[in-house]
Amino acid sequence: MTALSPEHLIVAPILIPFFAGALMLIYDERQRRAKLMLGLLSVAATLVASIELLVRSKGSELTGGNDIGFYLMGDWAAPFGIVLVIDRLAAMMLVLTSLLALPVLTYAAAGWHRQGQHFHPMLQFLLMGLNGAFLTGDLFNLFVFFEVLLAASYGLLLHGGGQLRVRAGLHYIAVNLTGSLLFLIGVSLIYGATGTLNMAHLSMLMAGLGEQERGLVHAGAGIMAVAFLVKAGIWPLSFWLSTAYMAGAAPVAAMFAIMTKVGVYVLLRLSFLVFGVAAGASAGYGSLVLVGGGLATVAYGLVGILASQSLGRMAAHLVLVSSGTVLSSAGFVLEGAGTGVLAGALFYLLSSTLATAALFLLIEPISREEGGIAAMLALTADAYGLDEREAQPEVGLAVPGTLALLGATFALCVIALAGLPPLSGFIGKVGMLRGMLAAELPVPALGWAFVALVILSGLATLIGLVRIGIQTFWATESEPPRLLALEIGPVLVLVAMLVLLTFKAEVTMRYMQQTARAVLEPAIYSQGVLGAPRTAETQEADQ
């Protein structure tokens, strides 16, 4: 896949949700069904495009720059204009995002999208921001897409209103606004010290930097990293997370399962690109922070899981564990732990994201007392004088044996999240642990701490979730909850993805291993990006 002619498919995951969202603004707020259809169409199309990109980017072996696709935005050459880059890592994240969005959107159709205004465009813009952040090869453009996804996440978090959400939203927004300011400081500092915003260009410049510039780049990257780490939920910058995720409406929280992963993704991408093997004196800069912070996050997350009384809070801490695990793995790999760890971590990331999303979607139906969404709708409509009341949920199929279904789904989520065999979580953990045990680390004790924490976090997950599961499914003798097919369906789809991931583990794992190898070879990325030809030039050459 080369950039001989503009491969518009690369920009599709950004543009499709953008146009869908923009169109939705023209629709009246009451035409929610039309928006839903448009949204589903958009997500499905994005999914197809992302899968196609994944298929194309997974070429069998690493062959120079050919495994990476470029898109020169506005047809300006690389360090000057903005370039989109699709490689294995990005493609994987794109697919994951769309995979998550489809069930989430379906779930929202069961009622949540009626809880407030403009749910649909916000979700589309969130997807746009996420996909943009995964694709962009430019630091400032990354900031912009971060803002897009953050702005949408603010809106989505506040979706439905109410004291809890607004309070959580206030914290979430305040912390992230501060983070965004730091991001700006960091990006501009890097520009000031190196004169470039292009990640590939920066990667190439790293080795030849003077002492002073290097220091400034380190400072800029460090300050910027704080912003990413806030988003990734590293301890001690993660306290906003559990409240926010808990407060968010179910589909929103489920979609948020990928939000921390954006922070993780960017840290991964930039660490290896800027502080990778080719970075001269900067190689491995900050890796210990990732390791230590990641481990502390896992520890804090597992403590939080055990200390949680509600499933929502527990799920939020599961998000922390997942992100801490991947972060510390990335740190270890920077320290030279090898591709095995990274591949395992990526696999784990995939699995844990899907599983936490499923869990977030499950919370609502599981902990629902009588009436459910219908009652909630009525209540909010009364309390706030919502002037556009709609008919009650028209898609209300009650599924028989709901409790068994919920219980089985919950159990599968538990198994996947705790990393118990045989589901995908286990495979990811085995991958990481296996790699870690084989690695020769400068500080072996940290490696052992990682191993211990991964195992302990699985145990804590098991204990915590089983505690709540027993309470929910075994200790209550109330009537089984009413369940909408539109609610359980998406959860089942997510769980089915986990099962599929388990069956297709070898293919996936090999993809991850190649991804990890590519990530560890920043030269492929940077040479490819800087050599990407403009369409205007290639057309001239053709004539």
Partner: protein, 960 residues
Amino acid sequence: MMEGNLLLVLVALPFLAAVVASTVSSRAHNAAAWSSGLLLAAGLGILWVLRAPLESGQVVRATVRWVPSVGLDLSFRMDAFVWLFATLVFAIAILVLIYARYYLAKSDPVPRFHGFLMLFTGAMVGMLTSGNILMLVVFWELTSLVSFLLIGYWHQGQAARDGARMALIVTGIGGLCLLLAMLILGQIAGSYDLDRVLAAGDAVREHPFYPLVLVLFLLGCFTKSAQMPFHFWLPGAMAAPTPVSAFLHSATMVKAGVFLLIRFTPVLGETQLWFFLVTGTGMATLVLGSMIALFRHDLKGLLAYSTISHLGLITALAGIGSPGAILAAIFHIVNHAVFKASLFMAAGIIDHESGTRDMRRLSGLMRLMPVTGSLAIVASAAMAGVPLLNGFISKEMFFAEAADWHNGTWLDNSLPWLATLAGVFAVAYSVRFITSVFFGPPPVDLPKTPHEPPAWMRRPVEFLVLACLVIGMLPGVTLGPALNLAAEAALVRDLPYKDIAVWHGINLPLVMSLVALAGGVAIMAAFGARIAQGPEGPPLLHRWRAQRLFERVLLLATWRAPRFLHRSFGTERLQPQLRLVVLLAIAAGAAGVWQGLSQAPQPLGNPLNPAFAAMWVAGGACAVGAAWMAKYHRFAALVLLGGAGLVTCLTFAWLSAPDLAVTQLLVEIVTTALLLLGLRWLPKRKEEILGDRLLKAKLRRARDLVIAVAGGAGLAAIAYVILTQPLIPNVGDWFLRNAYQEGGGTNVVNVILVDFRAFDTFGEITVLAIVGITVYALLRRFRPAPESEEPTVAENAVEAARMADALLVPAVIMRWMFPVLLTVAAYLFVRGHDLPGGGFSAGVTLSIAFLLQYLAHDVRWVESRLTVLPIRWMGIGLLIAGVTGLGAFVFGYPFLTAHAQYVALPLIGEVPAATALIFDAGVFALVVGATILMLIAIAHQSLRIARQRERDAAPDREAA
């Protein structure tokens, strides 16, 4: 090859049975039992077929690839040792199925029971046959999980829930330890393949991690096999239905641990450490378990502790690890399974028929259920180690190993004594079971009147008791060959054939057996009555129940400590969070710059303009003033903020950034209006906030001041360092050179925004749109605080009349300014590409024009004259920008590729015609929409409140 496939089928059969059983109707007891039973019988058939190659010392292997890249493959491997175990599992599973068919009530959900039971069987067989040590852990964990579900089968009861949870936690922890052990083991051996691991014993034992691996491994085995001190989950698991106890918690699952001990003896065994840990634990469990069993009043409790103690015996043998010990261990695994399963079933029958399991209430059942009684007596005799029964022989072999095998340690020397002591207790509890349940006076006051169960419920017990007898009398014929093959397979080496006989003459083991028999009977004779009246548990020790201890530890470890830690290392308050963010950012910056500051800043710079400095004296004063006043004098802070912003604008203009100055100015105007709109909804701050003057608060402020100064100084220092360094003209120069020729505009900043980096702008306008709709959505749900609903000055009736005129004259001027601002907006827009301005500034200018009208009049006045549909403007703006970007596709160029040209029109001359201008128009429309939406959405709140008040007041008026 054929054998390999058969092996796969064998493993798959129980899972298939699980699927079948869980899909039948919940009332179809027979269908579930028959389907499962037949499939299991087929499994036994396969085992029969596989017997032949195994007898010739072959190992049957089969592999299904799963995740080879992490060493996880579904590889299966069957040798004689596994074969024996697997046969045991299948056979007992069938018996349990038969038994359960009559044991379960009509109302019990059968598919779930059978489904889980078969799932468990599958997991167990998978564990036994795993040829990959990671897969072994997979199946191992699966047995734990299914066991959890089976114990919790009757989850209405608290005991079942607690028992299930505890079993899962204990065995789960063990499983994770085992996983780690296997991972390290695989690392050392270089493979997860069991054959290669088994062959790597020497390497493993010499490896520095050997002790670690061993401990982790043993934690896994001991928790599963209920070795002290992890034994307590097993009695708790007795809340499970009896078929489950018979199957999992006596015959099969708990044997998984000892199975693994024996399996890994060639790798991990034969060291001093192994012996001490394994045999030591085994002996302790053996002795303590048998002693506690004697004091249990609950029938299943007694059997559970008896099981624990027998598992201890097997463990002790595995720790010894000599060929004889291994043979004895395997033999005892089989024997124990046979007699204990039958005993559990018998106990289940008693429970089922009499309604109680309390031995103090049961009595004289022999008269009411003679057949069951007889069977139970034989089985418990086997448990006690009475000669001519199977239990006797393997126990004799244990005594023999304890007495004959030597390695000269103190533990070794104490083995015979401990073994005999345990034997004494074993006899005693067996005697207690028999005498207290079946003999004595007829029972009184039982929940049900006991009678013999249905015949088919008894059949499995009969079969097992028969096995006790046959094996007990003809061990060499029945099991001898299989046991010898199994021991060879387990130790992976050839061993001399060991004949298993009933009679070895009068020797030390026989003496030990006799002492045990006599001692046991004597104890019961002496203390029987007192035990029955005593507490549930041995004297002194009963207060000290491990289960309670465990629960306390568990509570501490999984609830109290985490809560404490979570509170100590986390917070839900915003201020500490922001403080951390700032502090870490300062630290990150400082850490990086540490190297950078090695060079002193160059004395390069522009000469000072005192006016510039003076402006910043004003600007700085405004900033500090705003910080000072924001708490008690919000309005003042707002004005001061405006002052600081203004000086910032001036700085931009002064330092060659006119576009920034214009934009910042316009944004500042709108921001001020926005903040003012918000101010109305904040609480009046008339008096001082409580506690503001306390020392603690002052210290907090001092600390924050230090952080703030550090942050400011750091940022200033970095800025100064950069400012005094020569510019690195990587990208900027290119833009300057190409803006006009390639981008078709002279204002490079604007060309960057709408062409070179238009994608940033594209994202930026999306942010604006999102925020717009978010603000709108949130305010649709807005609810003010009660005090904010008080009428404002304007609504105060007395003032209202006087105030009506106040705006009249200014409003005229403000109206005049509307078309002027419109024109200025157009001006800014049109010039943007070449001179300061652009779509964004134009858009904000236009929205200021609208804002001004809202300021001059009221909402209703404006909206009856000017209709703005902000959200639609936003949508259209986004679409214009996006479609302009898409336009390039038509010409085969990437998104947002701009086309710039000056078109010469007749008379008029050259007119710029850049697609970037259309893009900028999109930006313009969006900005207008978003800005107006935000302003108006907030402004509308007052109107809504006023309307609300009118509505509330209306009924009162009517009443009056």
